[in-house]
């Protein structure tokens, strides 16, 4: 079956992209950071001992290597064992969640590090920019408009398909799911723009760049997720469900490219103002 072969190739690409290519890039960036911005010169960047960061970096690499091996084994098993589209969907989704777990752990550990930074911060001065932050400062009106348009187009598509009363169709739950996702993303955007400053030393320019990267990635993810669900519904409506595992795997890869690659592009290490992490000279 050609759709099976296409799925195997696309799934292999998912395995290699998310569990080999991106982890390698992230690992290299961590190493570059530790080598070029050491704790002896930038002590405020490391609230813990440097050994603990090297250990975390090694654990990140090991965890990704294990997930990569598991993925390659799944590819072989998919090739050998006959399977239907539903199993392909479950495997692609389940494995994607596994692939993202090291990144989620990394994200959670960064929250802990910022908390330690705030605790260790002895400075009594607080700075703020008097420029208000607005959503359209961080994302183009065209991208934001596309997200809004895509959402309403999706709602209309769901309402249209609902009138045919397909057995497999989730109906309004599709709208609830996508709306919930958008509300969650909006919450993250609001937290980034108006919430507490997590990194107490971060310069205003770096914070603006970080918010911009996050907002752009979330808007693009929202568009992609809505388009993906719409395409899934249409594939089912036109009795092309066997192509859904392929579509889902491609979608996960696009999401990974948006969230990881875009984030890495926006946060070039050498653009960051590391002066703020140096120890302040004692006043004489």
């Amino acid at each position: 079956m050609p759709e099976h072969t296409i799925f195997h190739i696309v799934f292999l690409s998912q395995v290699l992209l998310i569990s080999y290519y991106f982890p390698r890039k992230i690992h290299a960036r961590m190493k570059y950071l530790f080598d070029n911005y050491p704790p002896s010169i930038y002590p405020k960047l490391y609230p813990d001992s440097i050994e603990s960061y090297h250990r975390a970096r090694r654990n990140f690499r090991l965890l990704n290597a294990l997930i990569l091996v598991a993925g390659l084994l799944i590819v072989v098993a998919l090739y050998v064992v006959p399977h239907d589209a539903d199993l392909g969907n479950v495997i692609s989704f389940g494995y994607f969640m596994l692939q993202f777990s090291p990144l989620m752990l990394l994200e959670l550990s960064s929250f802990k590090e910022f908390k330690k930074m705030r605790k260790a911060n002895s400075s009594t001065s607080r700075k703020a920019n008097l420029r208000p932050r607005r959503l359209l400062d961080f994302v183009s009106p065209a991208a934001f408009g596309t997200a809004v348009f895509t959402y309403f187009a999706f709602v209309l598509a769901v309402l249209y398909i609902k009138q045919f009363n397909f057995e497999w169709f989730g109906g309004y739950w599709n709208i609830v799911g996508i709306t919930g996702m958008n509300i969650f993303f909006a919450g993250i955007v609001v937290f980034n723009m108006y919430g507490k400053k997590l990194n107490p030393h971060q310069s205003d320019e770096d914070r603006t760049r970080q918010i911009g990267g996050t907002v752009k990635a979330l808007v693009l993810t929202s568009i992609m997720a809505t388009v993906f669900v719409t395409i899934s519904v249409l594939l089912s409506a036109f009795d092309l469900r066997e192509f859904m595992p392929v579509g889902q795997s491609v979608y996960f890869q696009v999401i990974a490219v948006i969230s990881i690659r875009a984030t890495m592009l926006y946060f070039q290490v050498d653009d960051v103002d590391f002066e703020v992490y140096k120890e302040q000279p004692l006043a004489t």
Binding site: N129, L130, R131
Partner: protein, 126 residues
Amino acid sequence: MEIVIDIDDPVPLFAQVIEQIKSAVLEQKLCPGDTLPSIRQLANDLELNNKTVAKAYRLLERDSVIQTKGYRGTFIHPDAKANSAIDLNEWVLETLNKTLTEFKKSGVTDSEIRIAFANLMKPDGY
């Protein structure tokens, strides 16, 4: 335009915010019509309580240094520069000083002044 406050400074935090915004207006770093951040944004950026920034904004609005236009946000007042030069605290001190000097010349005792002042400062004093 950046403002810096010191949480260990004896000057109250809201007064530091007011002082810095007025200074920025006088130095023309902030011009009439410029938008200011929301209370929540500024409070979180400065790691202050929302009420502290709200108090600063309220007093700046009273002095016509800023103006709030509902959901559109907070802006620098058209007459902000002239109004930033006026120090109401200074004016209150000067006026009270003149009045107290007159009372003392007339032989009014300190306790009589305190009682009269306390009566006037009661909510139904006027």
